[in-house]
Symmetry: D2
Subunit: 338 residues, 4 copies
């Protein structure tokens, strides 16, 4: 941590700041320039609140040198994390396509959709059983019955399965029926839930919160890793901005930024990012072209009858077309389609 | 719900949209103008996803007429809700000041702070026992031991107590020890938690999520009310914007907006909104001048030694000065200080 | 325009609103439902401020049916606008690459960069002569001398030239020396400047303002078209959000959104959107994969010596690599590289 | 400027960075810690682009120590600037109320409104003659005729006058007829216009851009001061956020933040910040309670007939009531009402 003192202040104020640092157990390295005195603070500053020193008399600015995340950072692990999902690997050479309905509604809908996306080349089947709905009056999901259907469909079509858990009490059944646990955007800072899935030994897909900075997102992953679960896939799904033509604004830059800061794989959910079917295809292509390790796309055999988010679900034939487009694009990023 | 069809489209497309509406059980009222045909849709459209119709061929725009919230709305209840906290009432003529440390650290700190704020005129004592921390390496709170201290301090100084619950499993002990349950900004869309406090018969203070629209905030309150708990106090605490000089941007306009839309009382937390002690006093005055039903201010007997958020905590003597300023302001909004 | 009246209000309030509308020369179509009365307003409502009616007693909501833009809209012109730049066309089958330095510094720098990008396949040469700088103490550009160099370089390498005008007084010289006039993000709502380039008969590239909605952006284009200049190319260059890891957040969704709303071509400037060289290549690929009609990329023969925005300029060899990647991607969007 | 090198990197990379700094004429102060090497850079770094060094191999972070603004900063001038407007002073003990119609429409409207606000206690009369309108089809203002009326009304009621200039060519006539030149939010980064009013010797009111950071706003003021015009009043008028219930989000925190960073006075325009009459009164009270040096409020004798922004204009009787409320509040901030 570096503390920049104000211009030409008296020695006493500097001593006061230095004294406080030393009393807290830090070593202080002082550097006096023509304009400013700068204090270099050495020790375990990770848990220190920088604002505490900013408010001291004579302090102009406090700068954290070390990033607040550890396990998720490249400094901790140089090689990229590859999460093995059995039928495919996320974070390696392959770009992985995950697809399926927003919500599991019934066997016919789930198996019909699964058959279509499996045939087109998707390796992972998604489907929600517990649904976080903005309104208490909306359909809330089938619960365990849905998870059972998801397991059956995954088995039938040779796909890995992924589904969201919203609450600690749901983890146990999810572990029994699904392969990857998803933490949704609204729960990205539900720290108790993050700690709980940190105890689990199954991969976790962690969606970015609607207004989470990339740093907060990596700190949420840190919560999971701190519990010992290192199998994390990050998922960008759009952030909230002033623009209202789309449901959210896909932060496509998050892909190269995360890849520079962390060793964890990153995929994109273009369906929630835009909220409209006709925007999903361009944004899926863009995500893969930008270097994403995979995509999570909502597909429904009959979107107009979907109980949830039908308007952002692709028709099966659109999904086939999309897969063909992705096959053209992947060589441009020196990747292959899983 | 109103559906505006595109200019000069053929009759067939209109019939298609009308057909779909009728098959879903809605009544349709058609109005043909020189430019546009407009369809008025009558029935229970609350659970309908408007995007579903926006994507139909020939549809230009879909507009929801009824607001998605019911119980929180003025339409449901014309008179303002007054939440009775025993020693004071929130939502009535009195402006209520809630104060205390961010986190309960030990008896000396809590009782010292409580004594100071009680003497200055605060009626409600705040203090966190379960702390949502962005980093897993930060202090996480004292848990039940903290709640016991809070109850003791409340009793000693004749104050109502408020503390945050982050997880369903914490509700039981909170009910035993505190008077008002707080739902924090990060949990505003933790729907399971909202439903759980909806079953409780104690007042709930619901903070606005960092990037929640006012509509989403009222829908979160709707989750609680739908469970039967009508004693809700809303709390604005700053939203996330592009500006970085302050931790968040206090949305002061939320006060008159919420008061127009809903019957629920609204207070302001200026401490989290700004994150700096020297901004807390101006924003507390501003909140009361704008018509807030109360404020929730962090105070600490020794802020520089606080384990959490010390830089945004007022010194006791600043709090005394602030109370004096508020006493000058309240007549301008035809209120009194509780 | 549609006016939704509040639930179960008395007839008098409705008559009052209807009266006001009629006195302003509108026709009113009344539709009475079980809950709400809805008024359809017919006439030239384009210049009407909807808030005026929202504030009337008994009015719940006012909805504009017709979009506020006319000439820029698909309704006005169904086929897509193709802007002919001589050596290439923007908005047709070809994806057009525009490249060059942020600022024209001297002949050696400009000609060196132009030679490199022309050889790699760029068709349009960019270079700033008038620079909008956030600080008054930064380099402000070479002015007319720069424009002369740009014309010479364009001629030498057979490229169309583009440069920014910041002020009405600069238009005359720009017309003499450059082929396409650029309006920068900070001037997107400089309405006098927009009107002035509307009088010109050269193509205009209109960048999106840092915090402009897509609707405001199209209305800015409308200002230019209203003057009679229909040769407009829109350019997305990132919007301001809460995320600070990148300079701006590229709104990649703007591409399909604009293509749905308007007939005007849209290109992307990934250099300003990210502000960092290592993010420019992924975002350029993403833009083309999302369907952009072109890209505007900053390239500099010696970025580390650039007087402005060096850190976001590509090295010539990176630009060559990028062009190769784009050639792989374009078939996925059924396009060719110009 | 401070450059933090990555952990445990080899000496060669450090030498490379140091070499570049020295070749640019800077002095470098090296400080080696257990983890990091830190370079202190001394010299005129104000015009340096920090990103240039961030991209060098081995560099972890670059931190600017000195703020980019000079003349607007407290470091340049310790005592607060007081702008003398003849009939009142802005930035001193008095809180100054400026009021009047959004747009000057005709003599009757202007004089009627001026009479009402003068009687209620406003000292400065506002009125637009050149109007920046989002749509080219909206009323664009009366121009010089409007300015003449404004001067006459100011004279009649003993008020200082203020009006917006949108374009360099309008400055001359504005100088002839009005006392204070206003630069609107959309022109906050119209650098040519800023430089031009920097040459003028009349006070300038500089509105904050819709999405400008406080730093960019002060740099815009720096453009004016760099020209020699030191009579600047800053005006907060709401920023763009994701919330849509209000037209903009008033950033009330900007008041104490600007007062800490700069010596320039700051006032608030609550009318544009909210866009609705019923929100203007609470936000005006809040602004004064937060410590603003003044407010700029839109008032219209017949708001429902206003050609522009009628819905955000107060009725004269509301303005009287507001002035009474402000008189109650000012002692709380140790001020008086001008």
């Amino acid at each position: 941590m570096i503390i920049v003192m104000e211009k030409s202040i008296d020695q006493e104020k500097i001593e006061n700041v230095v004294g406080k640092l030393i009393s807290r157990g830090f070593d202080v390295h002082r550097s006096t320039g023509s304009d400013h005195t700068i204090l270099g603070v050495v020790g375990d500053v990770a848990s220190l609140d920088t604002r505490e020193f900013e408010l001291l008399d004579g302090v102009q600015e406090v700068v954290r040198v070390s990033e607040p995340f550890k396990l998720t950072s490249h400094t901790f692990k140089r090689e990229r994390t590859v999460v093995d999902l059995g039928v495919c690997k996320v974070g390696g050479r392959d770009v992985v396509v995950m697809a399926g309905p927003c919500t599991i509604e019934n066997e016919k809908q789930l198996f019909g959709t699964a058959r279509a996306v499996a045939k087109a080349g998707a390796k992972v089947l998604r489907g929600g059983a517990y649904k976080p709905r903005t309104s208490p009056y909306s359909f809330q999901g089938l619960g365990i019955e849905g998870l059972k259907m998801l397991r059956a469909a995954g088995k039938e079509f040779g796909m890995t399965t992924i589904s969201e858990v919203m609450e600690i009490s749901q983890i146990e059944s999810a572990l029994e029926y699904v392969d990857v646990l998803q933490i949704g955007a609204r729960n990205m800072q539900n720290f108790n839930l993050l700690s709980a899935v940190g105890q689990v030994r199954k991969p976790v897909l962690l969606k970015r919160g609607m207004s989470a900075t990339i740093q907060e997102w990596l700190l949420a992953a840190e919560y999971i890793m701190a519990g010992g679960n290192y199998e994390i896939i990050l998922c960008e799904r759009g952030i909230r901005t002033f623009e209202t033509y789309t449901r959210n604004t896909l932060d496509i830059s998050a892909i190269p930024v995360v890849q520079k800061l962390s060793h964890l794989p990153i995929i994109v959910d273009p369906s929630h990012a835009t909220g409209r079917r006709d925007k999903v295809m361009p944004l899926t292509r863009a995500s893969v072209a930008a270097g994403a390790d995979g995509v999570l796309v909502e597909v429904h055999i009959e979107p107009e009858k979907a109980l949830c988010d039908g308007p952002q679900s692709l028709y099966p034939e659109q999904f086939v077309e999309l897969m063909d487009e992705l096959r053209i694009i992947v060589p441009a990023v020196r990747r292959t389609l899983a």
